[in-house]
C-alpha cells in the first residue's frame, strides 16, 4: 500500500470497459489528489457509475489501471472508504441501530464504537427516538439520513458519492453538503459523481467531464472553462433583448438573461449594441462560461435541459 502522500489517492489510467461488444469506457485516465474534492461529471449513460464500480472492484475492468492508495481496491480498504452508491438501500426489516451497527462493524469499528457513533449521529439528525424502529417504518427522508450516517460512520479518508443529491429532499441535501464540508475540513478526499453543475462549481477543486466513455475535459474548473473558451454575460434589463451575431442568448427570463460570447467578441461592443437597441440595461456582468453552458455544449441541448431540470428539482 502506498503511503506517499504526494501520490494521488485515486489513479485511473487507460481504463477500458466493454459489456459484450458494447464499449462503455474507452481509455479513461485521471487522478484524484489527496484532500481534494473532485467532480466526476457526465450525462446519463456516459459511464460514470461504471467507472466507480470498476474502481471499487464491483466490476472487473476490461483493461487499464484503477487504483486507490496505490493498489487495486479490495474490501480491506472498505474500512477507509465511505461510498454512497447511486442505487441505495438498507436492510429494511431491521432496526436502525442494528443496521448502523452492522455496517459499522463491517467497516472495522467495535460494537461499542459503532453504537456510540450511531446514537450520536441519530441525535445530530433528530432521529434519536428512532434507534429501535425498523428501517421500513421510517419516512423516505429519514431513511436517507440513515444512509448518509452509514456512509460516513468510519470517518472515511475517501468519500465517493454517486449522484449524491439524487432523490434527496432539501433538508437532506443540506445535511449532505454539511457532511461534505465536514469531511473536507477533516482532510478527506471527496469524489462527487454528478451532473449538478451548481454543486460542482461550489464544492469541487477539479473535475473530469466524461462523454461516451471518454474524457472531454479534465482539470480545475478554471482550466476547463478556459479550455472551452468564451464568456457569459449575465444581464439584468427592461425591454426585449435583440438577437445578434455577437452573442447567443442561452437563458432568457423576464428581466434576466445570459448571453454566450465568443472569445473574439468584446463585451463593450455587446453592451453598446444592447443600449443602442433601446434596451434598458440595469446590470451587466461578464464572466467565464458557466459549467452549465459547457455541459450543454458537450452533451447537447437535451441533456443540458435534463440536467437543468434535475438541478431545479433538487433545489426545490
Amino acid at each position: 500500500m502506498s503511503n506517499d502522500l504526494s501520490q494521488p489517492l485515486v489513479h485511473i489510467d487507460d481504463f477500458h470497459m466493454k459489456f459484450g461488444d458494447k464499449v462503455v469506457i474507452d481509455g479513461l485516465s485521471f487522478d484524484v489528489a489527496r484532500g481534494e474534492t473532485f467532480g466526476f461529471l457526465g450525462s446519463n449513460g456516459s459511464g460514470k457509475t461504471t467507472t466507480i464500480r470498476a474502481l471499487l472492484g464491483i466490476y472487473l475492468p476490461t483493461s487499464g489501471i484503477l487504483e486507490i492508495n496505490g493498489r487495486v481496491f479490495s474490501d480491506d480498504y472498505g474500512a477507509r472508504l465511505g461510498y454512497l452508491p447511486e442505487e441505495r438501500g438498507l436492510y429494511k426489516k431491521e432496526s436502525v441501530l442494528d443496521v448502523m451497527t452492522y455496517f459499522g462493524r463491517l467497516k472495522g469499528l467495535t460494537r461499542a464504537g459503532a453504537q456510540k457513533f450511531s446514537r450520536d449521529y441519530l441525535d445530530r439528525v433528530d432521529l434519536a427516538d428512532k434507534a429501535d424502529v425498523r428501517v421500513d417504518k421510517l419516512s423516505g427522508g429519514e431513511q436517507q439520513k440513515i444512509q448518509l450516517g452509514v456512509t460516513i460512520m468510519n470517518d472515511p479518508e475517501l468519500l465517493i458519492l454517486d449522484e449524491p443529491t439524487k432523490g434527496f429532499d432539501p433538508v437532506n441535501r443540506r445535511l449532505l453538503m454539511d457532511i461534505i464540508e465536514d469531511r473536507k475540513k477533516a482532510g478527506a478526499t471527496v469524489v462527487m459523481v454528478t451532473h449538478q453543475m451548481e454543486e460542482v462549481e461550489r464544492l469541487c477543486d477539479r473535475i473530469v467531464l466524461l462523454k461516451d466513455g471518454k474524457s472531454e475535459a479534465y482539470g480545475t474548473i478554471d482550466e476547463v472553462q478556459n479550455l472551452f473558451g468564451g464568456r457569459t454575460v449575465r444581464l439584468k434589463y427592461s425591454g426585449t433583448v435583440p438577437d445578434s451575431p455577437r452573442y447567443k442568448v442561452v437563458l432568457r427570463e423576464r428581466n434576466y438573461a445570459e448571453l454566450a460570447l465568443d472569445d473574439a467578441v468584446d463585451e463593450a461592443d455587446v453592451l453598446r449594441e444592447l443600449v443602442s437597441s433601446g434596451l434598458v440595461v440595469r446590470g451587466f456582468v461578464a464572466a467565464k462560461r458557466s459549467l452549465d453552458d459547457i455541459f450543454i455544449q458537450v452533451y447537447g441541448e437535451a441533456e443540458g435541459a435534463s440536467a437543468q431540470a434535475q438541478a431545479e428539482t433538487a433545489v426545490n
Binding site: 459489456f19 459484450g20 464500480r53 471499487l56 472492484g57 464491483i58 466490476y59 472487473l60 476490461t62 481496491f73 474490501d75 480491506d76 472498505g78 474500512a79 472508504l81 461510498y83 452508491p85 442505487e87 441505495r88 438501500g89 438498507l90 436492510y91 429494511k92 426489516k93 431491521e94 442494528d98 452492522y102 455496517f103 462493524r105 463491517l106 467497516k107 472495522g108 452509514v150
Partner: protein
C-alpha cells in the same frame, strides 16, 4: 479483517433471524402441536390407566352372552360380569340406561368382532368397555392354557436376539442401519427447513439495494459463507426446538404417552458408515446450498426464484420413488444413475450407505463428486452473487455473468 467480518456476518444474520417473531411462530408451531397431541395422549392414557385402576377396585358391571365358549364364567364374574338372561332385550336396556353394559361374544372371535354396548361415560371412559371385554377373553384363555408362559407364547409376548455374520465377523441388523440413516433425516430437516431462508437471504441484498455497500466493505465469499454458517446454526436451533418435546416426552413421560420402546443401547455406530454418512451430508449440504445461493443471485425476486427452486427440491425426493429398488437391487442401472447424479446422489448414497450396499469405491466417488460440485456451485454462486445482485431488478443473464473476467 476477513475473519472479523465473517463473525460479524454470522452474528448479524443469526441474530436477526432468531429475533423475528415470525421465526418463532414457525419454529414453535410444530412443537406446540406435538405438545398438544402428547397432552391429549397423556390425558387419554392417564384416564385409561386410572380407569383400569378404578376398574380393579370398582368393577364394571356388565352382562354377557358367550357363543364362543371361551369365556371363563369365574373370570367374567371376577371382572364384574354376569351371564345375560335376556339377550333379546339387552341392547335396548343398555340404550334406555337400565343396563350398564352388555358384551356379545360371537361363535368365532377370528371371524366376528365382540359386540360391546355400553352407556356413554365420555370419550375416555368409554374405552374401558373394550378393555374389559378383551381382558375377559385374555384372562379366560390364560386360565384354559393353565400357564402364563404358554399364554405369552400364544400372544407373541416375547423377544428374540439375533446375530448374523459377515466375513467372519458379527454383522449388524437394523441396529447398524439406523445410525447412518440419521444423516439422511438430518439432511432432509436441514435442507427443507433452510432452503427458503437461504434463497430469501441471498435475495435480500438485492431486494434491499444494499449490494454495492456490502461489496465494497465485504468479500462476497465471506458474506455467502457467513450466511451459510448462520443458517446452519438457525437450522440446528430449529432441530433442537423440534426435538425437545419428543426427547422430554420420551425421557420423562414415556409410559404415560405410550411411546414405543427404543433400546438405544442396541444401536451400533460403526466408524466407516458413520464417516461416509457425515461426508455425504456435508457434501450434499454444500452442493444444495451453493445451488440455492446461485438461484437467489440470478433471480430478481423471491417469487421468480421459487419457480427455479422447486425442481431442485423435487430432485431431493425423487430417490424415494425407487427406495425399494435401492434397498433390494442396488446394482440396478437406475439406482446407479441416481447414486452418481449430483442432485439425487446425497439421498440415494445415504440410503445405500445405511443399508450397507455402497461400496468403498462408490462412496469415495460420490463424496468426491459432491464436494467438487458443491465447492464449484458455491464458487459459481459467489460469482453470480457478485454480478447478479448488482443487476437489482433484472434477472442476470448467465452469458453476461460468465463473459466477465473473473
Amino acid at each position: 479483517m476477513a475473519r472479523h467480518n465473517l463473525g460479524t456476518v454470522v452474528q448479524f444474520e443469526f441474530t436477526r433471524t432468531v429475533k423475528k417473531r415470525r421465526f418463532w411462530i414457525a419454529t414453535l408451531a410444530i412443537p406446540i402441536l406435538l405438545a398438544i397431541v402428547f397432552g391429549l395422549v397423556f390425558a387419554s392414557s392417564s384416564n385409561t390407566q386410572s380407569l383400569s385402576e378404578a376398574q380393579k377396585n370398582n368393577q364394571l358391571a356388565f352382562t354377557y352372552t358367550d357363543a364362543s365358549a371361551l369365556v371363563d364364567p369365574a373370570v367374567a364374574k371376577a371382572l364384574g360380569g354376569t351371564v345375560e338372561s335376556d339377550p333379546g332385550t339387552a341392547v335396548e336396556r343398555v340404550r334406555t340406561g337400565k343396563l350398564n353394559a352388555y358384551f356379545a361374544y360371537p361363535a368365532s372371535l377370528q371371524k366376528e368382532p365382540v359386540k360391546v354396548f355400553g352407556t356413554d361415560q365420555g370419550i375416555f371412559k368409554n374405552g374401558s368397555y373394550d378393555a374389559v371385554a378383551k381382558q375377559v377373553v385374555i384372562l379366560s384363555a390364560q386360565e384354559k392354557a393353565g400357564s402364563a408362559e404358554l399364554s405369552a407364547a400364544i400372544q407373541g409376548n416375547f423377544n428374540t436376539q439375533s446375530q448374523t455374520f459377515k466375513n467372519g465377523k458379527v454383522s449388524g441388523g437394523l441396529e447398524t442401519v439406523v445410525p447412518p440413516l440419521l444423516f439422511l433425516v438430518l439432511f432432509y430437516v436441514v435442507i427443507i427447513l433452510l432452503a427458503n431462508q437461504m434463497l430469501a437471504s441471498t435475495l435480500e441484498e438485492k431486494e434491499n439495494r444494499v449490494t454495492e455497500m456490502i461489496l465494497t466493505t465485504l468479500n462476497p465469499t465471506t458474506l455467502v459463507v457467513g450466511k451459510v454458517i448462520s443458517l446452519f446454526l438457525v437450522g440446528a436451533l430449529q432441530a433442537v426446538v423440534f426435538a425437545a418435546p419428543m426427547v422430554i416426552g420420551y425421557v420423562f413421560f414415556h409410559d404415560q404417552l405410550a411411546m414405543p420402546n427404543f433400546d438405544l443401547s442396541n444401536l451400533q455406530f460403526q466408524f466407516w458408515p458413520m464417516l461416509v454418512g457425515a461426508l455425504l451430508f456435508v457434501g450434499g449440504f454444500i452442493l444444495f446450498t451453493g445451488v440455492l445461493v446461485g438461484i437467489g443471485a440470478v433471480m430478481p425476486t423471491a417469487k421468480d426464484a421459487s419457480a427455479v427452486f422447486a425442481p431442485v427440491m423435487i430432485m431431493m425426493f425423487i430417490p424415494f420413488y425407487i427406495v425399494s429398488m435401492v434397498v433390494s437391487d442396488p446394482g440396478n442401472l437406475i439406482v446407479q444413475i441416481f447414486t452418481f447424479f449430483p442432485f439425487t446422489a446425497p439421498i440415494t448414497a445415504m440410503l445405500r450407505n445405511g443399508f450397507g450396499s455402497l461400496s468403498g469405491v462408490s462412496a469415495a466417488v460420490v463424496i468426491a463428486e459432491l464436494f467438487v460440485f458443491g465447492v464449484l456451485a458455491l464458487r459459481v454462486a459467489v460469482h453470480l452473487f457478485r454480478y447478479g445482485s448488482i443487476e437489482y431488478s433484472r434477472k442476470l443473464s448467465l452469458r453476461t455473468a460468465f463473459a466477465r473476467k473473473g
